[in-house]
């Protein structure tokens, strides 16, 4: 566009105003991207789940245990290729009672079932062979400054007393949606110390064919319906999805705030554009007199608005993407895999374009329709 230098000159005339407006747009889109990413991360978590993995919990409530004796019956089931189980431990670490997720798992089958937990082979063997060994997520190394081989002592809240584990391995999740700040240890160790009550928190069952998952789940629930602990079995994805809904209506909250943010910034930008336009009434009249067409003047203002909106978008959206990437943010373990998605970036850019239209349209039309004589008279 041959008049681009004119646009630049206009933008540079009130440098402070231009910069502040760009900054407002950038802040708004940064906030938008952050809020949206909370929603997409939760969505992603609720969609995650191995197609062949089923989760079985106690039908009376997932905090209630299931008998450990179910394991054998499950393994013998038709179409079932693997069975593992886990227990929530709920320990606290250190003087300030730091919290992170710990699970007592049947180590060998658990790691078979979750190839997403990537562990170096030697560490894996070391972990499997030692009864009081622990496998920790890579984030915990940084968080607590732990090393492989170190002993850590947790205070049990559900299972009272001090529990000491030796860190034998570190896993890295191959999928960011899996928490990288968990600690796994041997279920056998837990059973032994609490007097072998024979309980498992929940079972994870692998079926040979994802298409049979629903049917298998039903067969299993029927099988245990009249036993001491009836079960509720569903796909891992359904289990994760029900966890995600526990937050309540997050997407509505985030959406409402996002809307308010975008609207507030629209006002700021539109105001700035209108102020600029008003101050330039005389100039526009002069430009018209020397032969600038209405269309050209219209696009001059629109391009100016577009420059502000898109530069702001670039800084705000790019900034959000980079910040969360580099800081490895996961909201204290609640939102693993917090990363601004491409879709969010596209929507953000779309908002910037709308911002350009909404803030530029009125001033641009006014410039295009300005009656020359009248405007010149006003300027004198």
């Amino acid at each position: 566009m041959k008049f681009f230098h004119l646009v630049l000159a206009n933008l540079g005339r009130h440098k402070r105003r231009t910069l502040l407006t760009i900054a407002s747009v950038a802040l708004a889109l940064f906030l938008f991207a952050s809020l949206q990413t909370v929603v997409t991360t939760l969505e992603r978590a609720s969609q995650f789940g191995g197609a062949r993995r089923l989760v079985m919990t106690n039908a009376s409530g997932f905090i209630l245990p299931l008998p450990l004796s179910y394991a054998n019956r499950l393994s013998a089931g038709k179409g079932i290729t693997n069975v593992t189980w886990a227990n929530w431990f709920g320990g606290k670490y250190g003087d300030n009672k730091a919290f992170f997720a710990q699970f007592a798992v049947d180590a060998k089958s658990y790691l078979e079932m979750y190839p997403e937990l990537v562990v170096p082979e030697d560490q894996k063997q070391a972990f499997l062979q030692e009864r009081s060994a622990a496998l920790i997520g890579v984030r915990l190394l940084d968080r607590f400054g732990w090393r492989v081989g170190q002993n850590v002592t947790l205070q049990g809240t559900i299972f009272p007393g001090d529990w000491t584990f030796t860190i034998r391995g570190v896993y890295t999740p191959s999928d960011a949606v899996i928490n990288d700040d968990m600690m796994l240890f041997h279920h056998e160790y837990l059973e032994e110390r609490i007097g072998r009550p024979g309980i498992a928190g929940w079972y994870i069952i692998e079926v040979d064919d994802a298409d049979n998952a629903a049917a298998t789940a039903k067969t299993l629930d029927d099988q245990f319906r009249n036993s001491s602990a009836p079960t509720k079995t569903g796909t891992e994805q359904a289990f994760n999805a029900s966890f995600a809904t526990m937050w309540g209506n997050v997407s509505l909250l985030m959406g409402t705030i996002g809307l308010a943010v975008v609207f507030a910034i629209l006002l700021v930008t539109a105001n700035a554009m209108m102020m600029s336009a008003r101050e330039r009434t005389g100039e526009v009249a002069v430009l018209k007199t020397i032969g600038f067409s209405d269309g050209t003047l219209f696009s001059l203002v629109m391009v100016e608005a577009g420059f502000i909106a898109l530069t702001g978008a670039l800084i705000g959206l790019g900034g959000a993407k980079l910040l969360y990437r580099l800081s490895n943010f996961n909201a204290g373990g609640f939102l693993p895999g917090f990363d601004v998605t491409t879709r969010t970036l596209v929507i953000g850019t779309g908002i910037a374009l709308l911002l350009m239209l909404a803030s530029g349209l009125v001033p641009a039309l006014r410039a295009a329709r300005l009656p020359v004589v009248q405007a010149l008279r006003r300027v004198e």
Binding site: S60, T245, N271
Partner: protein
Amino acid sequence: MKIPLSYNARSLLQRPVSTAFTALGIGLVVAVFIGMLALANGFRAALVRTGSAENVLILRDGADSELSSSLERQAVSILTASSHVATGGDGRPMVSPEAYVVIPLPRKGFDTTGLANVVVRGVSPAVWSVRANLDIVAGRRPESGRSEVCVGEKMAGRFDHTAIGETLRFGGRDWTVVCRFTAGGSAFESEIWGENEQVLPVFRRETFQSLTFRLKDAGAFEEAKRALEADKRISVDVYREADFYAQQSQLLGSILEVLAIMITGIMALGAVFGAINTMYAAVASRSPEIAVLLTLGFPPRSVLASFLAESALIALVGGVIGMLIALPVNGMVTSTTNWASFSEIAFSFRITPGLLLSGLVFALLMGVIGGFFPARRAAKQPVVQALR
């Protein structure tokens, strides 16, 4: 000598669109600020009100929530016999050993879909006098020995089968709903209460989770705590009931507050930028006027104050708009999971006069910060040049 405020008001009316846009921008920030803090406030209030200062709550030593605690029957009898327990009108100790279980119940309506984790609390028949803020608003108390339950006021409408006379199914048994209770807006209102001796066996529990008793002497909490925690026969942690539930709201309450402050902080920065733009434009377009004021003998200080006041005035209007936008959320019921107890709790957005006031102060702050540099520019303006 001060420049009258009416000068500023008239100036603002001279450029209504610009003023309205700036005020509305600030208003939206204030609305989000009030709305989010009302959410945090409501959540905290629900939990803080759950406990009473006259009651003592006992958990197993080291347990950090009712969910992770367990108390043997023997411990319960020792605690019940303690001399610190008040005696009720019927001559029996005011004690409620409680079972605490979380069950899945399908939510109804549009709020959110899927299963919610709801607390089932097995209470002793004495609980209605132990906890002072309880009020049965419909129906009658569950009878001892029967599978009857009383549901919290906030359960009704959010879950099916919670009306009086209907049958709720959980723990492999049918329970008749015989009453609905309120508990001063607290978290108890999101729970289902049945008799402890009925609830324990259906969940195959042998131990209670907690025990709540009324203090004989409300001032003797520390003494009771020392005595019970020192008792060699039992290993328990003793809390003031009010403190315990307040502490359960710490995690989520703080998350909500930090979020509110971060989000509105960033929004506020954007709004301040907007205010700066508006005020600079105002100063620039009125430079002859300002010069006249200075020539007339108004000291620069007054000009500074006047423009600050103008900016504050816009912000104040914005603050009021924000308050009006936010007000309708007051009392709206929402729900979330309290991760400290792993159960869903329903609570209302709570806007207090103090919160409205802080919204207004927040708006003023934005106005004053946004107006400062433009106002200084106005005050320092060279007179002669502007007049020419």
